[in-house]
């Protein structure tokens, strides 16, 4: 029977089945971070167990870490204790820990691929909802909770139910100044914040094949914002070129053997998906969110919708609540929305290509008066690469703050927090209430859109801005 990529990886990892149809799924690799692992290690302790396969995990601190003054001890005592606990747990249980002052530190979903720890065909988990990022390599990657994190540490397996499959095909060629971020925002706006709940998404089509690995990671990263834990792209020459020579990627004869395995992973031509969605991107405009759910997203030429036009009271109330929080009146043009903060970074858009796109948009411009703008590289490696290319100089000359790697304003767990009422153009993944600080307002955009908003002080259509 023809099988999808998801089916192939799933079938290759079944350890046992129960009578009701759930599967005990083998997990090849796990990434750990400081926020969701303390309770998982505590579960090991309660059970008197060791880590089943220490070499299958890598740990790094990213969520709670400061992005400035990294030479000094972490000022926040709770964050300092949390990071110290991760290091201590890793030392006690023999798990590799990439230290905060080491050159490999960064956001979990950035460093996994960088180190070649993320590989095609593997099952891959992290107690973080953006774990689908690793699906860009054709890995079956999904987010889990802290309890499941402990189960994987203890036994390397999880009880799972097979997801339904959804293929999202992007047709056409990506227009200038439009990016993978716009593609995924457009999909979420189309199918809704729970449109893919219960499905594993495979992203396909020529437009996806043409994307770099960085862009594919952006695409897969936000699958959870449409409800899906899993987003996949079949591995191809782009994938292999990215992985070749990475520290944890197979080497020499093993590389050739791995390539042969990886080339067989693509969905069979006649494989059937439970749901098909097609989006033509030939005329796709830059997207931005206007509300407090990622599906409340419009093209840059759009206007804030009127709750009075909603089809039912529930949707009217939802939209009215979002607009009240966002401080936006119905009918406002997207290009009339002024910002006072800009955040470029996160596991969605904190990679080298993102920083290049943002720096290109900055050019010789200056951050607008009254705007505070941060660039937070996704990893130390991204930061060093950007500095080697002189991108840091572009940002600093324009008035951006150039920070150390971490999750920063995507989750606002460290001291990077916005004040109430602040309005931010953000390359992150969630525009939820309070996500960047109590009462702060988030508009999700691509790196180029965020950079242009920093210079212009408002959202602009980057396809024609400066033309």
């Amino acid at each position: 029977m023809p099988r999808t990529l998801y089916d192939k990886i799933w079938d290759a990892h079944v350890v046992a089945r129960d009578a009701g149809g759930e599967v005990l799924l083998y997990i090849d690799r796990q990434l750990l971070h400081e926020v969701s692992s303390p309770q998982a290690f505590a579960a090991l302790r309660e059970h008197g167990l060791q880590v089943h396969r220490p070499a299958s995990h890598i740990a790094v601190a990213d969520h709670a870490v400061p992005t400035h003054d990294r030479g000094a001890p972490i000022a926040d005592p709770q964050a300092r204790a949390q990071v110290a606990l991760l290091a201590a747990n890793c030392a006690e249980y023999g798990v590799e820990y990439l230290a905060l002052d080491g050159e490999r530190q960064g956001i979990v979903h950035v460093i996994g691929p960088e180190q070649g720890f993320t590989l095609p065909g593997l099952t891959f988990v992290c107690s973080d909802s953006h774990s689908a990022t690793h699906g860009a390599f054709g890995a079956l990657a999904f987010g889990i909770g802290a309890s499941e994190c402990g189960t994987v540490l203890a036994a390397q397996v999880l009880w799972q139910k097979r997801a339904a499959t959804m293929r999202v095909t992007f047709t056409g060629a990506l227009p200038d100044h439009v990016s993978a971020k716009d593609m995924i925002l457009a999909l979420i706006a189309r199918i809704g914040a729970s449109g893919a709940t219960g499905y594993a998404i495979e992203y396909a089509g020529e437009a996806v094949r043409a994307l770099s690995m960085e862009a594919r990671m952006t695409l897969c990263n936000m699958s959870i914002e449409a409800g899906s834990r899993t987003g996949l792209v079949a591995p191809d020459e782009t994938t292999f070129a990215y992985l070749a020579g990475r520290p944890r990627a197979p080497q020499e004869a093993d590389w050739d053997a791995a390539l042969a395995d990886w080339r067989a992973l693509a969905s069979d031509a006649d494989a059937r998906f439970d749901r098909e969605v097609t989006i033509d991107i030939a005329d796709l405009a830059p997207q931005l969110s206007f509300g407090t759910s990622p599906d409340q997203t419009l093209p840059i030429g759009g206007r804030v919708p009127d709750p009075g036009d909603a089809p039912d009271p529930a949707q009217r109330d939802k939209l009215a609540g979002a607009l009240a929080y966002m401080g936006l009146a119905p009918g406002t043009a997207m290009t009339d929305i002024a910002v006072d903060h800009v955040f470029i970074g996160s596991c969605t858009n904190g990679r080298i290509e993102d920083l290049r796109a943002a720096a290109a948009m900055v050019g010789m411009g200056r951050v607008a008066k009254g705007v505070r703008a941060l660039v937070v590289p996704g990893s130390g490696a991204v930061k060093r690469q950007a500095e080697a290319e002189g991108l840091d100089a572009v940002f600093i000359a324009a008035g951006f703050e150039w920070r150390e790697a971490g999750c920063s304003l995507c989750v606002a767990m460290n001291d990077d927090r916005l004040p109430a009422g602040a309005r931010c153009a953000s390359t992150s993944n969630r525009n939820f209430e309070g996500r960047q600080g109590i009462g702060a307002r988030t508009h999700l955009v691509s790196p180029a859109m965020a950079a242009a908003a920093a210079i212009a002080g408002r959202f602009v259509d980057i396809r024609s801005w400066r033309a």
């Binding site: 729970s194 990627a249 939820f432």
Partner: protein, 197 residues
């Protein structure tokens, strides 16, 4: 894990759609590394949504618990007393996390959900029976619900998942690893060596 068989008790409703786990448990409290006593932080920044302590059953809007995988969301709800959630749909990771903590998320169709919601709004007592998979709504016909058989069994028995897997499947895990090691030797070699070295 405390077994869940029958739950009856105070019910509350949060009918808004897309209440995400950031709203349920704001990120800044994730710096706490304990899992007990988190109820005081639930809905901390949204007093209008606060769930009264002692609430056993929560009727929710669509896509409740979407977003972040933070298990602090169900831990905080459990600390308030919540054992059963009834809604049109849940964030997948949130729902999985509920099951791991002795909590039952029930998905109902729109008509049945409206009946439960109206009953809770009217202050009627509702009772959830996982053994018979029925919700008793005041003096009306009871409502059937479905739940994954393995999840139901785990809740009814209060199973400790790690202990059960280690006791029941160690041999199967070992034999899977042996097979994978033989079939994909490069994968196992790729895990050798330290990145810090």
């Amino acid at each position: 894990m405390t077994p869940l068989v029958r739950v009856t008790g105070p019910a509350a409703r949060l009918p808004l759609a897309n209440i995400d786990t950031d709203i349920i448990f704001p990120a800044r409290f994730l710096l706490i590394t304990e899992k007990a006593g988190l109820g005081r932080y639930a809905f901390h920044d949204r007093a209008d949504l606060a769930v009264p302590p002692g609430t056993a059953i929560l009727v929710t809007g669509d896509n409740f618990g979407c977003g972040s995988s933070r298990e602090q969301a169900p831990w905080a709800l459990a600390d308030l007393g919540v054992r059963v959630l009834i809604g049109a749909g849940f964030g997948e990771i949130f729902a999985a996390n509920c099951f791991k903590n002795g909590m039952l998320p029930i998905v109902l169709g729109p008509g049945e959900l409206a009946r439960v919601d109206a009953a809770v709004q009217a202050g009627a007592v509702i009772a959830v029976d996982l053994e018979t998979q029925e919700i008793a709504v005041a003096d009306q016909d009871s409502i059937r619900f479905s739940v994954e058989p393995a999840r139901r069994e785990a809740l009814l028995s209060g199973w400790d998942e790690i202990g059960r897997i280690r006791a029941g499947y160690a041999a199967q895990i070992a034999s899977f690893e042996q097979r994978q090691r033989a079939a994909i030797p490069w994968l196992w070699r790729a895990q050798q060596g330290s990145l810090n070295g």
